[in-house]
């Protein structure tokens, strides 16, 4: 861009300049978005391979392919990579970066260089996390004390990697909050913002306010291992449950860092493919903020069986039930948006519908878990594993894939093969359910999570689950091949193939460096579908 005048720069598509150096030094939010998209997808594959190995090991009781210690390190690595390198940065850093400036009518984020620095911090954290594989940790991604103090594996390197990646998350959140507050185009009032922007804003608040707490928790855990400071060590007068409080004070809001952007995406996709305005816009916007707010008050529901007081448990149980209200508002409003709409089942819409269906299951089983007596019974069983994956894959990953197919023409300027996309979707949807639905049943029958070995009576369901993981993997592979093929020899994408009304579709595909020739003036909200145009 340096060699062109501004007027010229406006015309050049952001993908034009070639070469690795031009990519890793670019402060263009769209290029940084692609950098994130490639990096998080890489770690999705890495974490996914670890998951396939975990599932393969669980195919039979006793040893199938690896020993118990290796199994422990595998699920730890799977959890850490998927949580901290894929799903937490995930949609926010990739699609958030691409879409926020375009959707609000800005030329870039508020701090473009800080944005690039965030990506470097993410990569630095990722390298450290991968380096810990030399002596992989076996604590699970939750690092509970006192085991994480005593284990001989490399907890320090792994947690330090997460600490560094956390800075990336904080700076991205900070950047987005300032961008959304200060750089909206004229006329783009809060109540005209696309819901994805509201979702990104709520997410960014969580990133800024919760991430420092995991930072200090992990620093204290490292200090515990290096100096033996004793905060979390009962032998020195400390309290291991305190670590859990610290950890979940971040990691519960982090669950919403993962899911809120996906909810934003679904709110963009559903109106476009139903040709109807979003139902209950304000309720949708404020329910996002409500979820973000309540998420700070529910962390101890991860600890109902760990010796917290009965009164505290009852309060946290009640607060957890509260989350169901704004969440249900969202599910009802998406459904109501589709009601009597002109529904077009293109691949983004299929993923969006899968989101609603699977997230409803994930969310409702969360209500089971919020109930104290039920939780005591199924705590730390496969029921929790299934619940979490229904929310994280059924929710966030489905949202991510919906976004990937929806904005693919805009980001790449190419079209993918829609038929193959639908076949891949079918594999993913079926594979996911075959993998995780049996785990609900396993959990209610008493199969504990993270165990290497199990009683023979659990084997049929474990086999089913493992077979499901293969179907899911085939679907994801097919999807990836389809998108890569589209990139290489897909048709050229028009400006607005899906007929969306939001601002990012009103610029060329792929968008030019400076996004808009002239900053637009906004006169209406984004969801005026179904009117005569």
């Amino acid at each position: 861009m340096a060699n062109h005048t501004l007027a010229e720069a406006i015309q050049i598509p952001y993908l034009e300049e070639k070469g690795l150096i031009s990519w890793i030094t670019s402060t263009d939010h769209k290029r940084i978005s692609i950098l994130y998209l490639l990096s998080i997808s890489t770690f999705f594959v890495v974490g996914g391979i670890a998951a396939l190995l975990v599932r393969l090991e669980l195919l039979t009781p006793g040893k199938t392919i690896v020993d118990a210690h290796t199994y422990n390190t595998l699920f730890t690595f799977h959890g850490t990579v998927m949580v901290f390198l894929f799903i937490v940065p995930g949609i926010a850093a990739s699609f958030g970066n691409f879409l926020i400036p375009l959707m609000i009518g800005a030329r870039d984020v508020a701090f473009p260089r800080l944005n690039l620095l965030s990506w470097y911090l993410y990569i630095a954290g990722a390298i450290i996390i991968v380096a810990s594989l030399l002596q992989p940790a076996d604590t699970g991604w939750t690092f509970y004390t006192p085991y994480s103090i005593r284990t001989g594996t490399d907890v320090i390197l792994l947690t330090f990697g997460i600490f560094v990646a956390g800075f990336s998350s904080i700076l991205t959140g900070l950047n987005f909050i300032v961008t959304i507050q200060k750089l909206r185009a004229p006329g783009m009032t809060w109540h005209r913002l696309p819901l994805f922007i509201w979702a990104s804003y709520a997410t960014a608040i969580l990133q800024v306010l919760a991430t420092p707490v995991i930072g200090i928790s992990l620093l204290l855990l490292i200090a515990e291992r290096v100096f033996g400071i004793g905060f979390f060590d009962p032998a020195k007068g400390g309290d291991p449950v305190l670590f859990q409080h610290f950890f979940w004070f971040y990691s519960h809001p982090a669950v919403y860092i993962m899911i809120l952007p996906a909810m934003g995406i679904i709110s963009e996709v559903i109106p476009v493919f139903s040709r109807k305005p979003i139902f209950g816009y304000k309720a949708m916007a404020y329910s996002l903020l409500a979820i973000a707010f309540i998420s700070f008050l529910v962390w101890a529901h991860h600890m109902f069986t760990n010796g917290i007081s009965q009164l505290a448990a009852m309060i946290f149980s009640f607060l957890t039930f509260l989350v169901a209200i704004p969440t249900a508002i969202k599910v009802f409003n998406w459904t109501a948006t589709m009601y009597r709409g002109s529904i077009d089942l293109k691949s983004p819409m299929l993923y969006a519908l899968s989101f609603i269906f699977l997230f409803a299951i994930g969310g409702l089983t969360g209500v089971f878990l919020a109930a104290l007596a039920v939780d005591v019974h199924i705590h730390d069983t496969y029921f929790v594993v299934a619940h979490m994956h229904y929310v994280m894959i059924g929710g966030t990953v489905m949202g991510f894939l919906a976004a990937l197919h929806f904005w693919y023409p805009k980001m790449t300027g190419k079209m993918f093969n829609e038929k193959v996309a639908k076949v891949a979707w079918a594999f993913i949807f079926i594979g996911f359910n075959v993998t995780f639905f049996p785990q609900f049943i396993l959990g209610t029958e008493g199969m504990p999570r993270r165990y290497y070995d199990y009683l023979p009576k659990y084997q049929p369901l474990h086999e089913l689950s493992t077979i499901g993981s293969w179907i899911l993997a085939i679907g994801l592979f097919l999807m990836a091949i389809n998108l890569i093929r589209g990139l290489l020899n897909g048709e050229k994408a028009p400006e607005n193939p899906y007929g969306s009304l939001s601002l990012e579709w009103q610029v060329p595909s792929p968008p030019p460096h400076e996004n808009f020739e002239e900053i637009p003036t906004v006169t209406d909200w984004t969801y005026g579908y179904g009117k005569k145009q």
Binding site: V178, V208, L209, G215, I216, L220, F227, G230, G238, E514
Partner: protein
């Protein structure tokens, strides 16, 4: 800080919006710092409630006069920092350099005192891990010290830049943001001093 102040030149963002954005970004960053320290303050609250006698007995081993002197030093440094910001807002470059230098000098004095103080604790056999109290003492003052060092590096960069004449009454956002950060460092110490040294 520089990033926040100097970004987006290629994008021709309105300087007023740019200034507001930078300041808002800095305050958000301050919020994250408070939450980072918040974890330690929480741990302090919990363990002081759990072990009041331990906290009382062991805090007597801390060197109150050095702690008090350091408090005065940091408050003075906040004053010189504020004067530095006020100077450049009036376009007085020499005064900015003088006050930045004084702030840095105070910061270094703080670190020298801390070096002798910690050395003294180590000779007395008090380390992180000696007891929950001393673990908290070293973690809290240690994390604060890291912030002092980072603050000094930032101020040193500001001082170097101030010689290039890039700051004026019209453009001084980095100085102001650096000032906000330095005041935060000072403010945290003002809480640490009574909590650790002056337990009644």
């Amino acid at each position: 800080m520089e990033e926040m102040a100097e970004h987006a030149h290629a994008h021709h963002v309105d300087p007023v919006v740019e200034y507001q954005s930078s300041k808002f970004g800095m305050w958000l960053f301050i919020a994250t710092e408070l939450l980072l320290f918040g974890g330690l303050f929480t741990a302090y609250t919990i363990y002081r409630a759990k072990y009041p006698e331990m906290f009382h007995e062991q805090h007597l081993e801390l060197n109150k006069p050095i702690g008090a002197i350091n408090t005065v030093i940091l408050i003075c440094s906040s004053l010189t920092m504020a004067l530095g910001v006020a100077s450049i807002k009036r376009g007085k470059q020499e005064l900015l350099r003088l006050f930045l230098s004084l702030t840095i000098l105070f910061g270094i004095m703080f670190l020298i005192n801390k070096y002798f103080e910690w050395g003294h604790e180590f000779r007395d056999g008090n380390y992180p891990g000696t007891s929950i109290f001393f673990s908290l003492y070293f973690m809290m003052t240690g994390l604060h010290m890291i912030h002092v060092i980072v603050g000094l590096l930032v101020l040193a960069v500001m001082l170097a830049w101030s010689f290039t004449g890039r700051f004026s009454d019209k453009y001084n956002t980095p100085i102001e943001l650096g000032g906000i950060y330095w005041h935060l460092v000072d403010l945290i110490w003002i809480y640490l001093f009574p909590l650790l040294y002056l337990i009644g």
